[in-house]
Amino acid sequence: MGARVELTPEFAPQTIRRWDSPIYQYLLSAVGVGLVIGTWFAVHPLTRFLPSPAEVWAEGAILVSQPETYASVLLSLRRLLVGLFVGFSAAFLVALAGRASSWWQRFFSVYVYVAITVPSLAVALFCLMIFGLTEVSVYVSVAFVVFPFVVVSLHEGFESLDARLHDMARVYRLGLVQRLRHVAIPEMAPSLFGALRNAYALGWKIVVVTEVFSAQQNGIGAEYNRAYDFFALDRLVVWVVFFLIVVFGVEFGVFRPWERRVFRWRDART
């Protein structure tokens, strides 16, 4: 045993500050949001272009009461989900092929590289020109943009598979289904979640980009466009808030609780 080092209070390691408690954290986040909204309240009468909070609130109330609003949100959501499904399926097949043989991995890595590198605007415009102003354009754009990132995530997931657990499963003669369900998939869960989250965030962006350029009548991107065309900043603000509600609603309402459930076995580690 070495000599004990007595630390004076100001040098004590990892001093607990009162900011560290979760209540303060939430409170501060609320203050951070509130400060910006407060500034808006204070500043808007001084400018010509800023809408008043009351106007935005009124606009929001109108939009919330209109069924077209929900139709637009749902339409964008459908485009996103179909695109994600196609992108994930393609990525899964490619990642599996890459795992099966290094030849195929080298073959597909060209496509993965190209898909990662191409700017999403070009993808959206190109798809809109080839497939016309149709749903297919949005589906293909989303799938194309999301695809390479999912391949990389899945590849990382495959790499993280532990040979020791695989041995254990073989010794105790677990069948293929059991090995997948109880060993491989839980082992890959972190990468699968990572892939899902990234693809979801990225997918929303490309949906909006495609919708903005597609001159379509509905969808969140089209609503942005319309608000912009009318020079209606209040409407744009409301639509951004709707968008954020959907994005964060899924993040906090689906992904986080789901993740907490799947990884509840980890609690002990901390």
Partner: protein, 264 residues
């Protein structure tokens, strides 16, 4: 008494590098025996267990369990698979399944009907004084508790034999001793055959009926010692110390400088 596990003229080398791991190994274990395989690290002890468990296929030699051939001259002989329990160096539980689910998975894979699982799990957890932890996550357990779950799992499937690969080497001294005594108690109660691999001479002498001495890698068996001390044995028994001292002398010659690489 027939030889229950019989290994004849067994050789194994790594397929990719061609480096031999074990060479010309002959070994027999009787039913219900506690056999220890003692060798320095890297001598191919684990390879031997991996062959017995069916993970590796040896290139040469014959392996028979209960008169059923497992391997013959580099081929896996198609026969009824032998259920074996395996305790790895780490407990190797699935961290995302509870203690009970971990055992249930092994039972399911071993073909036990589902309505028997609960009873088997409960009785084995009771045997290892883990009944409180049936629905605990492995990460919430101490190292010793995890090792006991692994013992419970290996016993639960009613194996033909249990293979143990230095299962207590990562535990602290007190927990290790405790578990060794507990393992011997379980072994006497169940009559299961155990093949236990270790590099610790004292552990081997304390546990085994017979112990096999292996050379440094590529491993060959160069000696068989019968430990006929009465059980239950005491860890500090002078007779045990005496056998240990004699073995150290034998082994030093064969292991050469390999022994100092293994701090106990």
């Amino acid at each position: 008494m027939d030889d229950y596990i019989r290994i004849e003229n067994l050789s194994y080398w790594y397929r990719d590098t061609g480096v031999p791991a074990v060479r010309d190994v002959d070994l027999t274990v009787a039913k219900g025996e506690f056999a220890c395989i003692l060798g320095p690290s890297g001598c191919g002890k684990s390879t031997l267990l991996n062959i017995l468990s069916g993970l590796f296929t040896p290139q040469r030699g014959k392996v028979t369990v209960d008169q059923h051939a497992l391997f013959e001259d580099g081929r896996r002989v198609a026969s009824e698979p032998v259920a074996c329990g395996y305790m790895f160096q780490d407990a190797r539980l699935l961290p995302w399944r509870t203690v009970g689910q971990n055992i249930a998975l092994a039972l399911k894979a071993a073909g036990f009907p589902e309505n028997t699982w609960n009873e088997i799990i409960r009785s084995h957890l009771q045997m290892l004084r883990l009944e409180k932890y049936e629905s605990a996550w492995p990460m919430n357990l101490s190292g010793g508790q995890r090792a006991r779950v692994a013992i419970a799992r290996s016993l639960a499937i009613k194996p033909a034999f249990i293979l143990m690969d230095e299962p207590f080497s990562t535990l602290d001294e007190v927990t290790g001793r405790f578990l060794r005594a507990e393992l011997l108690d379980l072994w006497e109660r169940t009559g299961v055959t155990i093949v236990f691999v270790t590099h610790s001479i004292r552990e081997a002498v304390y546990l085994s009926d017979h112990l096999y001495l292996m050379t440094a890698g590529p491993g060959e068996v160069f000696g068989r010692e019968t430990i006929d001390l009465p059980r239950p044995r005491q860890y500090e028994d002078p007779r045990l110390t005496e056998i240990e001292g004699r073995l150290v002398n034998t082994v030093l010659e064969k292991w050469g400088y390999f022994d100092h690489k293994e701090p106990m």
